[in-house]
């Protein structure tokens, strides 16, 4: 059986950054398994710009950002096996892979980094009545069709869901000559970034209709149109129905971490973020298995993915070299009112970084509010936040001493009113 110090599952930005960081920490025997034929993951189809402002101090497109990391992987001589699908990971880190060259093979890894990314919510989960005619795509599928395969799905388009992919596809479809009638969003606020509303919708006069959803789909074999209605308290308001003829309906209804492998390995999952429970080294409930990037929690900025993944790679290197677990009490970090989830779920008191990062999302729109960390009644940390919105992941760097002062579990919460 082939043996490796570190097996990285997935060659997107997370997997590449983890491998690069582990290599720089002195691990030599690393392998990246990627099911696609190229490295880069989702970035290859994200041809728009807006990547890398933090990491490279310039604004890159997705493929350019991916290529910079792929170059680092190559220059460091890290082996990559593309066209290789990981089928299973056992709790003692035997990884089963499938490739056309070698067929099914078991390998042993002294450490594993999970970096499988996420996938889109499938349309079945949307609960729209009617037939399922041809012409309905998830926004990411349409993005792949247009940007990688060079195929336009249609000419007259309606988009349901205002996540960033939906907004970006509204512009992309328009630039490719289609007409985008509108973007409809069930929630009273957009799921995507404001900057994308400006440069993807406003620039092209595409309306964003909040508190609206598709209630009916017309057409048997081919999509002919959709019926849209305004929504209140989760229910369509009678009398607000409008018919939009279209040949394409794009669904941008969010992403879910791709955790089949994680689950079948028996790793504990945090239902609040649909990703593994991890400590401050990004280690999962199984020793030697680490997680980072979109498989851990959905990120909106690739720069955060790279930073988080580097931490996972360094932790894997430390695990392989040191072996023994870090000393000290485990302090849990529990999300309370206004905070949806956190990464990490816990800290180890004896082995804190100088400035541990806490990444989280809020449950509503907060203006001029604060994030507070408490230990019982005692307040350990407070930071004023001008704006926090659910579609933007928050990244707090907290001083080590703050957390070291905890003598019991910590609670993190927002203070202020939802606006």
């Amino acid at each position: 059986m082939r043996e490796f110090d570190l097996a990285v599952i997935g060659g997107g930005p997370a997997g590449m950054a983890a491998a690069v960081a582990a290599k720089k920490k002195g691990l030599d025997n690393i392998i990246i398994f990627e099911r696609d034929n190229v490295l880069g993951g989702i970035l290859n189809q994200c041809i728009h710009n807006g990547f890398g402002l933090h990491t490279f101090k310039e604004e890159l497109t997705g493929p350019e950002y991916a290529e910079r990391y792929a170059d680092m992987v190559r220059e460091l001589g890290i082996p990559v096996e593309t066209g290789t699908m990981v089928l299973n990971i056992s709790p003692d880190r035997v990884v089963t892979i499938l490739s056309s060259g070698r067929g099914v093979e078991d390998i042993y890894a002294r450490s594993v980094v999970l970096a499988m990314g996420c996938r889109e919510r499938p349309r079945g989960a949307l609960g729209i009545a009617g037939y399922r005619p041809q012409g309905i795509y998830t926004a990411g599928t349409a993005q792949h069709l247009i940007n990688i395969d060079g195929i336009m799905p249609g000419k007259e388009c309606v988009i349901l869901g205002s996540g960033d992919i939906g907004l970006i596809m509204a512009r992309r479809m328009t630039l490719e000559g289609a007409h985008v009638a509108a973007v409809f969003e069930l929630m009273p606020y957009s799921g995507g970034l404001n900057r994308n509303i400006v440069q993807c919708l406003d620039d092209f006069g595409i309306p964003l209709k909040l508190s609206h959803t598709v209630i009916d789909i017309k057409g048997k074999e081919k999509l002919e149109g959709v019926v849209v209605a305004e929504v209140k308290d989760g229910k369509p308001i009678p009398g607000t129905e409008e018919y939009y003829p279209c040949d394409t309906l794009l669904l941008s209804c969010g992403l879910i971490p791709e955790n089949e492998l994680t689950r079948s390995c028996g790793i504990a999952i945090d239902p609040l973020k649909n990703g593994a429970v991890v400590d401050d080294r990004l280690q999962t409930s199984i020793p030697g298995v680490f997680a980072c990037g979109n498989v851990l929690h959905v990120h909106d900025l690739v720069d955060h993915v790279s930073a988080e993944a580097a931490k996972a790679g360094e932790s894997a290197a430390a695990f392989v070299r040191g072996g023994s677990a870090p000393e000290g009490r485990v302090i849990k970090l529990i999300p309370k009112n206004g905070v949806k989830y956190t990464v990490p779920n816990s800290f180890t008191a004896g082995s804190l970084d100088d400035e541990p990062h806490i990444r989280f999302r809020v449950t509503g729109i907060y203006k001029n509010a604060a994030v507070v960390i408490k230990c019982g009644e005692k307040e350990l940390f407070r930071r004023k936040m001008r704006v926090m919105i659910p579609s933007e992941m928050q990244d707090l760097a907290v001083k080590k001493d703050v957390l070291a002062a905890a003598d019991a579990d910590l609670e993190i919460m927002t203070e202020g009113d939802i606006s």
């Binding site: 290859n44 041809i47 728009h48 710009n49 807006g50 402002l53 604004e59 890159l60 497109t61 997705g62 493929p63 350019e64 290529e67 247009i146 940007n147 990688i148 395969d149 060079g150 630039l175 490719e176 970034l193 404001n194 900057r195 509303i197 400006v198 440069q199 620039d203 909106d300 900025l301 001008r386 933007e392």
Partner: protein
């Protein structure tokens, strides 16, 4: 006159309030950094955007392309048209010029991926 804008220079998306005197920008508030100020002044006089699209090579491969610098917003469609019309053959390196002086903007459109 007051104008409300959203800065698109980074994901923070700061809400900007711009005091105008006719077509002249008097003051910009709400920005977190200098780039927001620059953006507001540019946006209200001559808005600019980076254009990203794809071009098909003779071999039928899709190559991502971007304008090296932002171009005038009202020239976006002209740029896409010019880029689509470019003759591209493999191999392509990231940064290779795909359409020089795209749509007469003085800006080059370059490949965003090596194939």
């Amino acid at each position: 006159m007051t104008k409300e804008l959203i800065c698109i220079c980074c994901p923070m998306g700061c809400g900007l309030t711009v005091e105008m005197n006719g077509s002249e920008v008097v003051s910009v508030t709400g920005n977190t950094c200098k780039r927001g100020d620059d953006y507001a002044r540019q946006e209200l006089t001559a808005p600019m955007r980076t254009v990203t699209t794809t071009v098909r090579t003779a071999d039928g491969v899709s190559i991502p392309v971007k304008t090296k610098e932002p171009v005038p917003k009202d020239r976006i469609f002209d740029c896409v048209k010019d880029i689509k019309a470019a003759n591209v053959t493999l191999p392509v390196r990231v940064g290779d010029v795909i359409a020089a002086n795209v749509a007469g903007t003085g800006i080059d459109a370059v490949a965003a991926r090596s194939v």
